[in-house]
C-alpha cells in the first residue's frame, strides 16, 4: 500500500462520526451472577504503571469458596446490562453487558495500522508462541527492532496438543504490531502480527503523525 492509496480524510471521518468501540462483556466462567453496574454507569479499565490497579467491578460470579470478581478491562460507559440474568446461575460465555468505549488516539492509530501493515495471519485456529530465538530478540531489543525474513522460524503453533514450528513466508520487514497473546487461541485467518517492510516505515510514521495532529 502506498501513500496515495490511503484516503486519510475518509478514514478519519469514519472515526469522527462514531468515535466509540462497543465491547461485549461475557461471563468468563459459570456461577451465580451478581451485576455490580447499571446502564449509564461510567467504568474504568486497569490503571497504574504495571496496570496493577483493577478496573471497575462489573460483576461477580459466586462459586464454592471461589468468588470470581470480573473488572472492566477498558474505560467507557455501560451501554446495556442483561438484568434478566441477575441472581441466576449462568454458563460460561453468556453475554452480560456492553461497554461503550471512547477511542483514544493510540487505538485509532492501531486500528489504521492494522489496515496498512502486512498482516501475518493464523494458519489454523491454535495457540501461538514466538519461537525461542525470536522471543529472546524481542525481549532484548523490543519488537519494532526485530526484522524477519522468509525461512525464519517465527512461531510455535500449539494445536491439538502438538507443537509445530511455523516458518515465515512473507516479505521481509520488522514486526511492528503484535495482536496475539501467548497461549490464547487465535481463530484461523486472524492477524497474529503486522509486518512493516523497511521502505514503508516513513509511511507508517506519517500516519501516526497525522492522526496525532488531527485527532482531538
Amino acid at each position: 500500500m502506498q501513500e496515495h492509496d490511503i484516503d486519510f480524510d475518509a478514514i478519519l471521518g469514519r472515526y469522527r462520526a462514531d468515535p466509540f468501540a462497543y465491547r461485549k462483556v461475557r461471563t468468563a466462567h459459570t456461577g451465580r451472577l451478581r451485576c455490580k453496574v447499571r446502564e449509564g454507569d461510567e467504568v474504568v479499565g486497569p490503571s497504574g504503571k504495571f496496570r496493577h490497579i483493577p478496573g471497575t467491578l462489573l460483576y461477580e460470579l459466586e462459586r464454592e469458596r471461589n468468588l470470581k470478581r470480573i473488572t472492566s478491562f477498558i474505560n467507557g460507559q455501560v451501554a446495556m446490562v442483561r438484568s434478566d440474568l441477575e441472581g441466576s446461575f449462568v454458563e460460561a460465555g453468556e453475554h452480560v453487558l456492553t461497554i461503550r468505549h471512547p477511542l483514544k488516539k493510540r487505538e485509532i492509530v492501531e486500528d489504521i495500522l492494522r489496515q496498512v501493515l502486512t498482516p501475518y495471519t493464523a494458519p489454523e485456529r491454535a495457540k501461538y508462541f514466538f519461537s525461542l530465538d525470536l522471543q529472546s530478540s524481542i525481549d532484548k531489543y523490543g519488537q519494532r527492532s526485530v526484522s524477519i525474513k522468509p525461512g525464519d522460524e517465527i512461531l510455535t503453533m500449539s494445536l491439538m496438543k502438538r507443537d509445530t514450528p511455523v516458518y515465515y513466508d512473507g516479505e521481509p520487514g520488522i514486526i511492528h504490531s503484535v495482536y496475539f497473546k501467548p497461549g490464547v487461541s487465535v481463530d484461523q485467518g486472524e492477524p497474529l502480527f503486522g509486518i512493516c517492510p523497511k521502505d514503508r516505515l516513513p509511511l507508517i510514521e506519517k500516519i501516526i503523525t497525522r492522526v496525532k495532529a488531527e485527532w482531538e
Partner: protein, 468 residues
C-alpha cells in the same frame, strides 16, 4: 438419595459414560465448551423446553471451579472424569472428595492416583517389589548438564552392550498419553531436544521436569486391564497389545489378547510372559491398595523381557478391546459401568474364576489426520459420516451422522472408535479390513481440500498387529 453423575469430559467417552449411567439407572449432567457445541454428547442433552437440563457450558474441561459449580448447581453426587483432563489429577480428585459437600470421584482414591499417577514414584515402588522397569532416571531432572550426563552414560552403556542403534527418550515427567516424548540418537542433539521437551512440558503440564530413559527397539507395548474394588477385591480382564502407534506415540490399532501365537513365531514363551505381567500388575495393585479401574502398561522386548512402563489410573480409550474377549456370566462386561458401580462403593460380586476369555478383538482408532505428513491433524468440516453395522462390530463416536460437523481445533481430531471381534485373530483382521472398506467419511477444509483420514493406514498396518 440416588446418585447423579457429572460427566467432565467430551466426545465418545462422554457418550459411553452417559450410556453406562442410564444402564445403572443413574441421572447425569454433561459439561461442554463453546467449541464442542455441535458434538453429539451436547446435542443429545440440550433441550430448551425441559426443566431437566443436562448440558452446561463451561469455560474449559480443565476448570475445576466451573465443573464443581455446575455439579453443585445441578445437585450431582459424583464426577466422572473420563480419560485425559482431570482423570489422573490427584489434586482434583482430592478437592472433589474433601470438601464441605463431598462428591464421589469416579476413579481411584486420590492417594492412589498420587502414588501411581506419578511415573517416577511408580518406578520406585515397582523396583522395591522387584518388578522390572526400563533403565533410566527415577526422578525428574531440571538441570540440562545433569540430564546430558545421564543420557551420555545411557548411550555409552547401550553401545558397550552391542546395541546397534543406541538412543534415549527424553520425556516430560508430568506428561502422559504419549505426549512430550522425543528420541535422541547422538549426544550432540541432546541439548536441543532437551530444551524442546522442557518447553513443551512447561507449557502443557506446568512442570519443566524431564525423565531420561533408554529407548527400547523392537518391542511390543502391552497393557493389563485391572478392576479393583474398595473392599480389597481384584480381578483382571486380560492383556491387550497397543504397539501400533502414530509418530506422536498415539495408539492407533489395538488387539486383545496381548500375544497370539497364530500371528507370529515368538522367540519366547508368550503365554508365560502374559501370565508374568498380569501377576506383577496384580502384585503392584495389591501393594498400593488399588481401588478402581486401571491399566498397567508394559514393554516386552523381542527376547521376551517385560518392563513396567507406567500405570494409568483411569479408564482407557481402549478398555472395550479387553471387554470384548472377556465373558462374565456369558456377557461381555461393560468396564465403564463397573467402574462407576465400584466407585459408588459397591462390591465386585465375582472373582477371577467367574471371568472367561474367548476369541480376539481389534480396536481401530479413526482419526482425521494425514499419516503421510507425520500424522498432521486435519481440521475442517465433515459432510458425510457413516459406518457399517454388523453383529461382530461396535462403533463409539461423537460425530453426528445426520448433519455436517466441524472438527474443533481445540481438541484431538479423533472421529470414532471401532471394535471388531472374531473367533481367531485372522477372522478379526479380515472383518476389520471389511469394516474399513465400508466406512464413508467425506469432508473439506476451509480451502476446499478433501479430508485426510487414517483409514488406509489402519488397513495397511493390520498385519503388523501382535508381531515384532
Amino acid at each position: 438419595m440416588k446418585d447423579k453423575v457429572l460427566i467432565a469430559n467430551r466426545g465418545e467417552i462422554a457418550l459411553r459414560i452417559m450410556r453406562a449411567c442410564r444402564d445403572l439407572g443413574l441421572d447425569y449432567v454433561v459439561v461442554y465448551t463453546e467449541a464442542d457445541e455441535q458434538s453429539e454428547h451436547v446435542q443429545r442433552n440440550i433441550d430448551s423446553e425441559s426443566n431437566q437440563r443436562r448440558a452446561w457450558r463451561v469455560a474449559s474441561y480443565t476448570d475445576p471451579n466451573d465443573i464443581l459449580a455446575v455439579a453443585d448447581h445441578t445437585k450431582c453426587t459424583a464426577i466422572h472424569p473420563g480419560y485425559g483432563f482431570f482423570s489422573e489429577d490427584y489434586r482434583f480428585a482430592r478437592r472433589v472428595t474433601v470438601r464441605d459437600q463431598p462428591l464421589t470421584f469416579i476413579g481411584p482414591k486420590w492417594e492412589v492416583i498420587k502414588d501411581l499417577g506419578d511415573k517416577i514414584n511408580t518406578k520406585r515402588v515397582a523396583n522395591q517389589l522387584g518388578i522390572p522397569t526400563i533403565p533410566g532416571t527415577d526422578g525428574p531432572i531440571y538441570n540440562e548438564i545433569d540430564a546430558e550426563e545421564i543420557s551420555r552414560r545411557l548411550l555409552e552403556d547401550q553401545a558397550e552392550r552391542g546395541i546397534s542403534q543406541p538412543s534415549v527418550l527424553v520425556k516430560a515427567a508430568a506428561g502422559g498419553g504419549g505426549m512430550g516424548i522425543e528420541e535422541v540418537h547422538e549426544i550432540e542433539q541432546f541439548r536441543r531436544v532437551y530444551r524442546q521437551v522442557q518447553n513443551y512440558a512447561k507449557r502443557q503440564f506446568g512442570d519443566p521436569g524431564v525423565l531420561i530413559e533408554q529407548c527400547l527397539r523392537d518391542y511390543n507395548h502391552l497393557e493389563v486391564q485391572l478392576l479393583c474394588s474398595r473392599h480389597g477385591e481384584r480381578v483382571h480382564f486380560g492383556t491387550r497389545n497397543c504397539t501400533i502407534q502414530s509418530t506422536g506415540r498415539q495408539k492407533r490399532l489395538e488387539a486383545a489378547p496381548g500375544f497370539d501365537t497364530s500371528c507370529f513365531p515368538y522367540e519366547f514363551d508368550a503365554p508365560a510372559v502374559l501370565d508374568e505381567i498380569v501377576e506383577n500388575s496384580l502384585k503392584l495393585a495389591s501393594h498400593v491398595r488399588y481401588d478402581n479401574v486401571g491399566t498397567w502398561e508394559w514393554i516386552v522386548s523381542r527376547s521376551g523381557q517385560p518392563y513396567l512402563l507406567e500405570v494409568n489410573t483411569r479408564i482407557q480409550v481402549e478398555n472395550d478391546v479387553s471387554a470384548r474377549i472377556s465373558y462374565l456370566n456369558g456377557q461381555h462386561p461393560n468396564l465403564i459401568r463397573e467402574q462407576i458401580r465400584l466407585a459408588l462403593g459397591d462390591k465386585l460380586g465375582y472373582s477371577q474364576s467367574d471371568i472367561e476369555f474367548r476369541g480376539t478383538s481389534i480396536e481401530l482408532r479413526i482419526v482425521a489426520e494425514d499419516p503421510q505428513r507425520g500424522f498432521a491433524p486435519w481440521i475442517g468440516t465433515i459432510s458425510q459420516f457413516s459406518f457399517p453395522r454388523h453383529e461382530w462390530s461396535a462403533v463409539y463416536t461423537h460425530v453426528p451422522t445426520d448433519r455436517p460437523y466441524a472438527i474443533p481445533s481445540d481438541y484431538d481430531p479423533n472421529l470414532a472408535l471401532a471394535l471388531v471381534w472374531g473367533d481367531s485373530m485372522a477372522e478379526a483382521k479380515q472383518r476389520a479390513r471389511r469394516f474399513l472398506d465400508e466406512m464413508v467419511i467425506e469432508g473439506h477444509n476451509s480451502s476446499g481440500a478433501p479430508i485426510n483420514t487414517n483409514l488406509q493406514y489402519l488397513a495397511d498396518n493390520m498385519d503388523r498387529l501382535l508381531t515384532f
